[in-house]
Structures are given as C-alpha cells and as structure tokens.
C-alpha cells in the first residue's frame, strides 16, 4: 500500500515536471531578481546591438511580428506576452534558455543580458524599472591559474591561487583543471581533468609529437572546470615551444590543381586561355565575314 502511494506520488511528480517542462516555469526565487543598475539610453543602444546579433534571427525585428517559424513560436518580445513578465522572469529565460531558445548563460555576460532587457523594455511605454538592488558580494572561490613548462620533468605545471580574506592569496587546492591546445578548428583537450593538490598544483604530460608551428610553439590554455559557475576563475594561456616543429608549406603556396586562382598551374592557364582565344577568334572572324556579306550585294 505504502509502496503504491509512493509510486503515485512519483507519477504525479514526474507528470508535473513534464508539464512544467512544456510551459517553461520560472522558479519563484528568480522572479523578483532585478538589475543592479538603472537602465540608461546608452544601455538600450548597447542592448539593441546585442539583440540584433544574438536574438533577431529568431525573434525578428522588434514590433514587426516577423519571428522565425519555430515550435514553440519565439514571439515578438515587444508584445504583451513578454512585457507582462517581471525583469527577473525575462532575465531567467534569457539566462537558462529552453530548446530551441538557446541558453545565454555562457554566451552573454550578465550585464549584456540586462542591457538586452533594457532594450526590450524600451518598447513598452508603461514600463517602470523597479529599484536596482546592488549585487550581493560574491562569496564563492576566486581562482586564478598560472602555467609553466617544467623542462626537467617534461610536464606542464598549472598552479591555482585563490583570493583569501583581506587581499591575501594562497594556493587553491581541490580545483578541477582542464588543459587545451589550439588546433586548426578549435581547441583540443590534452589528458583528463585533474584536481589540484594541497600546493594548488597539477601536472599534465604533453605529447611530444603534437605538431606545433615551425619553431615548435603551441598555444596552450588551462581552465578551471566549473560547469555550474560557482567560482570566478581566470584561465592561463601560454605559447610553449613543446610541440613538434612543423614547417609544411601551405597547400596554396604552390601552383596546383587544388590551389587558389592565382596559383593555377601554368599549363592549365595556357591551355584554357589559348583554347578560348582560338575558338573565339574564329567566331569573331565569322561575325566579321557575315558583316561583309551585306556590302557584297551589288557587284
């Protein structure tokens, strides 16, 4: 009996979350969130640029009802449906997103998101901004990474320091660190995620055969793994001469089939141009002869 009841509760709960997943409910504690500053016309202008770049492709131009045909429809944000919501609700939706609306948490900085809201609100003459509330002081960890290559150990050493009270700093232990190396089309992770020791340090082996530039330099980045954004972190970047020296000429440096136009093989240029000139030469000659026919009528 008890078990059945549990099942029932579980069932109701799961259906409940389903429905909420479809209606996009904003958590109560987020609804009252307000900006920490007063909106200015300047911010609206900034917000407009952000809107045009990040939102317009789906939401369309403000007030024109020309949003993209998606399901659910994105809607025009100048209209009532969006405008009746609190700033907190708008902020939450922009921050969290919901498929197909993207999550802007890591795409737009917090201030940027508020500026977009300032822009969206500028289409609502009745809107009065609630009093700004200064941001509570940040209480999470503030971690800064630094990176070095240790020649004797042949390893990359990443050291994490964090801010302690009153401007002091000390080693940050137990921080998860990821190492990336820049490649043609983005960054490639090197090794696994590693956790800093009591000295705030972590070491990564670097594959010796990874191609670098012609002097062997590779661009390496160390980042803190903080998927929930509970910390403030600063990554470390460095160009290290630890890759394999690679000095391959660019594929478009030489004349070849596959190369750009200015690097077409001479023989192709000649063949193509000569064929065109010869054939069109004859064509022009024929056109010229045809014009002569007219003059020969009497004779």
């Amino acid at each position: 009996m008890r078990f059945n009841k549990l099942l029932l509760i579980f069932f109701i709960f799961s259906v409940g979350t389903r429905v909420s997943a479809q209606t996009w409910v904003v958590p109560d504690d987020q609804k009252g969130v307000v900006a920490s500053f007063k909106f200015t016309p300047d911010m609206q202008k900034q917000g407009e640029q952000i809107y045009v770049k990040n939102c317009q492709s789906c939401h369309g131009q403000m007030g024109k009802d020309n949003w993209a045909k998606l399901t659910p429809p994105p809607g025009d944000l100048s209209k009532e449906k969006a405008q009746v919501q609190t700033d907190g609700e708008l902020f939450y939706r922009i921050t969290a997103g919901k498929v197909p609306m993207p999550e802007f948490r890591n795409i737009l900085a917090e201030d940027d998101r508020w500026w977009v809201i300032a822009y969206i609100r500028s289409f609502n003459p009745k809107y009065v901004q609630p009093n700004p509330v200064a941001k509570a002081a940040f209480t999470g960890r503030i971690v800064t990474l630094a990176m070095q290559y240790s020649d004797p150990m042949k390893k990359i050493v990443v050291s994490a320091t964090e801010q302690l009270k009153e401007g002091q700093t000390g080693p940050a232990a137990g921080v998860e660190v990821m190492l990336y190396v820049k490649r043609y089309f983005g960054s490639m992770q090197v090794g696994d995620i590693k956790t800093t020791n009591a000295k705030g340090e972590v070491m990564f082996e670097f594959p010796a055969d990874l191609p670098g530039n012609k002097d062997g330099f590779v661009e390496v980045t160390a980042r803190v793994n903080d998927p929930k954004s509970v910390m403030k972190t600063t990554p470390a970047n460095a160009a290290l001469a630890i890759g394999a020296k690679t000095d391959k000429p660019s594929l478009t440096d030489t004349r070849a089939w596959w190369s750009v136009r200015s690097q077409a093989p001479i023989w192709i240029l000649l063949t193509y141009t000569l064929s065109v000139i010869i054939v069109w030469g004859f064509i022009l000659y024929i056109v010229y002869s045809i014009m002569k026919i007219r003059k020969l009528s009497k004779g």
Binding site: S259, V279, S289, I290, I293
Partner: protein
C-alpha cells in the same frame, strides 16, 4: 515516295517549305498554352527565389537533385547538332540536308536553356557572373560555363548562316509572312542577292563552324561528365564517363530529332521532303548510337561490379536490386535494350513506330540522368550524424518538379518559334541541291 524531280520548280519548293510561315489560330493556341504553363512554373520559381532552395527536396546529402539531372539532360540533347551537322555532314551524307536545320534548332534551344537550368539549382542566382569573375581555371565548373557558352554561340551561328539566303527569299516571296516581320527579315538577310562572293563567305563560314563544332560539342559533354567524374564517389569515379556521356547524348539527341521530324512533317505537310527514307536512316543512326551507348553502359557497370569495392558494392546493390532497381531496369531495358532490338527491323523504322520508340528513349534518357546524379549522393563516404530522414532519402517536391518542367516548356517555345517563322527545311540549300537554283534577286 520519290519525287518527280523534273516537275520541281523553285516556286514549288518555296511554297512547300514556307506555307506554314503565318500566324494562325493553332499556333496562337499552342503558344498560349505554353505561355500559361510557363507562368505556372515561373510562379513556382518565384517561391524558390523568395524562400530559398529549401522548397526543393534537395538537402545536405543530395544537393544535386532533379535540377542537375535536368542540366545534364539538356546539355546532352543539345549535342545532336554536332552529330548531324558536323560529323555526318562533313562526311558528306547528302540525305541529311533536310534534317540539319531541325538538329540545329534542337541544339540551339537545348543549349540556350541548359544555361538557365543550372541557374535553377542556385540559391543566389544573381551571383551567376561570379563564376566568370572569380572562377578558377582549374575548375571544371569554369570550363563548363565556358564551353556551353561557346557551343551555344557556334550553334546559333550555324543556324543563322543558312538562314540568310532563306530570309532573303522569304521576305520577297512569302505573302503570309506577317508584315511587321518583313523589315526584320530584310535586315537579317544582309542584302543577300545570291552573289557568288556572298555564297562563298557563307559556305566557308559554315565549314569553319562545322569543324569548330566537333571539339566544342565533345568538350561540353565531356566537361559536364567531369563535374561528376573528377570526384571519387561511387558511381561517378570513372574514367569512361566522358564517352559514356557523349554517346548517351547522341541517343537522346537522335530521339529528339526523330520526334521533331515526325511532328514537323505532319503539321507542316513535309511528306515530300522528310520521307520514309529519312526516318529509316535516322532509325539506323539511333540504333547505332544506342549500341555504342550500350557498350559504355556495360563497361560502366561490369568493371566496378567485378571488383566490388565497398562503396561501389553499395551503389550497385541499390541500382540492381535495391531502392532504385525498378527505375533502373525500366530505363535500361525500356530506353536502351528493347529499342535497339526493335530498331533492327525495317518496319519499326517507319515514321510512327520510330517516333514512339524515340519518345520512350527520350523519357528514359531523362531518368537515366536522374539515376546517374542522385543515388550516388545518398551514400556519402562520411555520413552526417543524427540527420533527419529527408536528408538520407531524396524526394523531389512539387515546386521542384514545376521548376524542372519549366525548361522543357521554354525549349518547346523556342523550337516552335524558330520552326514557325523559318523553313524547317533549308530552303536555299534544297533548291541548290535539286538543281533549281535559278533564283534572281533584285
């Protein structure tokens, strides 16, 4: 159906070959029908212009759909001008004279429209000129637009040169010529007075054109085949694609000429000029080029089929026994093997049966291009992950079909106009050949 040559006078020939040059009700109705159909198709195209290529069934897998099949078909059909006029003409086959203009008309119409067909596959057609402005001389695409333009101009000149004398005759001797066209014909006939020097220029120009036409025509279809063959994809990765395409083009083109001959003969009452002999001979031409094409088909399927490299195996499986099998066998049997068998018999080379066979060949020829272009793309070497079903299986849409039909209507319009306002059969040449060339112009 031989003619009593002695009774032939210049006036009789002129009357026979030009009596259809007038604007009558049938012509207006037919043109009206074509225009309305074209407008419907153009509306479909306007939808594509506005909403993008997504209105067609082409997606990231099959990016070359019916439009490209259509393109290959149009280039193919245009090649016949070269076979009839240049190859057979230069050899000196006299019986061809009445057919040359039909072949050239078809060549001009299909070549002109082929350029438009390729535009239908462009999402940004206003950028067409970029092919010339920024094209790479290493790319078959630049070669393709170059040779097609060249071939079109050559064919147009070849159509025009024999018309000079004809127009000189028409604007003087054909009373049914609409009066507003008279000055146009007079102007275009370039004061032709049958002066020997004038004839000399015309004949020499035609000879030059005929010689240029052979490499140009071979190039257009060989280059079109290279658009496919220079990739390493199963079904396209072939060294015989050039001759495979060229021979296939002769098949489609010969069929097109036969169909046109049939309808011109009937509608314009040309039984005395397009005789059973001409049909019989064209039937033999069709049989010959079909046999050559069959030979290349065997090469095209047997050799990869023997080796069965992985990707080829998938491709051939789909064609022979898979998704495309029904279409494939209908096309190969109905458009190639059965027609060849029929054409071996004299009685099937009579006008009516020959026209029906040609119609089957022509339809099959279009679907053959479809089978060359589309199935290969449904099996990419590096499939995209998690794609929607409509990426994997290409299904043409209605809009796409209408846009594919439009070029056919356009070709019919061009052929109708040319055949309606000019003699279908070269007038001056026929007169010269029949020995009644005593034309006096004032």
């Amino acid at each position: 159906m031989t003619m009593d040559e002695n009774k032939l006078t210049f006036d009789k020939i002129t009357a026979d070959l030009t009596h259809h040059i007038r604007i009558n009700k049938g012509f207006l109705l037919w043109m009206g029908f074509l225009t309305v159909s074209l407008l419907v198709c153009l509306y479909a195209y306007s939808l594509q212009l506005r909403n993008g290529l997504g209105v067609a069934g082409i997606r990231d897998y099959v990016t070359w759909g019916m439009y490209l099949a259509n393109f290959v078909f149009f280039v193919a059909a245009s090649l016949i001008g070269m076979l009839i006029s240049a190859v057979l003409g230069l050899i000196g086959m006299k019986w061809l004279t009445p057919i040359t203009r039909i072949a050239e008309t078809i060549a001009v119409a299909f070549a002109a429209v082929a350029g438009l067909v390729i535009v239908s596959d462009m999402g940004r057609p206003e950028r067409l000129a970029y092919v010339f402005l920024y094209g790479r001389p290493q790319s078959p695409i630049l070669w393709d637009v170059t040779v097609i333009t060249t071939y079109f101009v050559l064919s147009l000149l070849l159509l025009f040169l024999p018309l000079i004398a004809d127009m000189a005759i028409i604007h003087r001797k054909v009373p049914t010529l609409p009066s507003w066209l008279k000055p146009v014909y007079k102007f275009l006939s370039l004061n032709f007075t049958n002066h020997p020097e004038q004839n000399k220029i015309i004949n020499r120009s035609i000879r030059i054109l005929l010689i240029l036409l052979i490499p140009a025509a071979l190039s257009i279809h060989t280059v079109t085949s290279w658009l496919f063959a220079v990739t390493s994809r199963a079904g396209w990765d072939s060294t015989v694609f050039g001759p495979y395409f060229v021979s296939g083009a002769f098949v489609a083109g010969s069929a097109a000429v036969i169909i046109a001959m049939f309808f011109f003969r009937k509608n314009y009452k040309l039984e005395n000029y397009l005789t059973d002999m001409h049909f019989n001979n064209m039937g033999k031409v069709l049989a010959t080029v079909s046999l050559v094409y069959l030979y290349f088909n065997i090469n095209e399927f047997l050799v990869p089929g023997y080796k069965l490299k992985h990707a080829d195996a998938i491709h051939l499986q789909e064609l022979f026994a898979g998704k495309d099998a029904i279409l494939f066998w209908i096309v190969q049997l109905g458009g190639l093997i059965i027609p060849i068998l029929f054409l071996l018999f004299r009685r099937f080379r009579n006008p009516m049966p020959l026209m029906l066979i040609s119609a089957a060949v022509m339809i099959a020829a279009w679907f053959k291009r479809y089978l060359i272009v589309v199935p290969t793309q449904e099996h990419p070497f590096l499939p995209i992950q998690h794609v929607p079903q409509n990426f994997v299986h290409y299904t043409p849409t209605l809009i796409e079909t209408l846009i594919t039909i439009a070029p056919f209507i356009l070709v019919l319009i061009i052929i109708t106009l040319i055949s309606k306002f000019f003699p279908v059969i070269p007038l001056h040449e026929t007169a010269v050949e029949k020995g009644v060339d005593h034309v006096k112009f004032d």
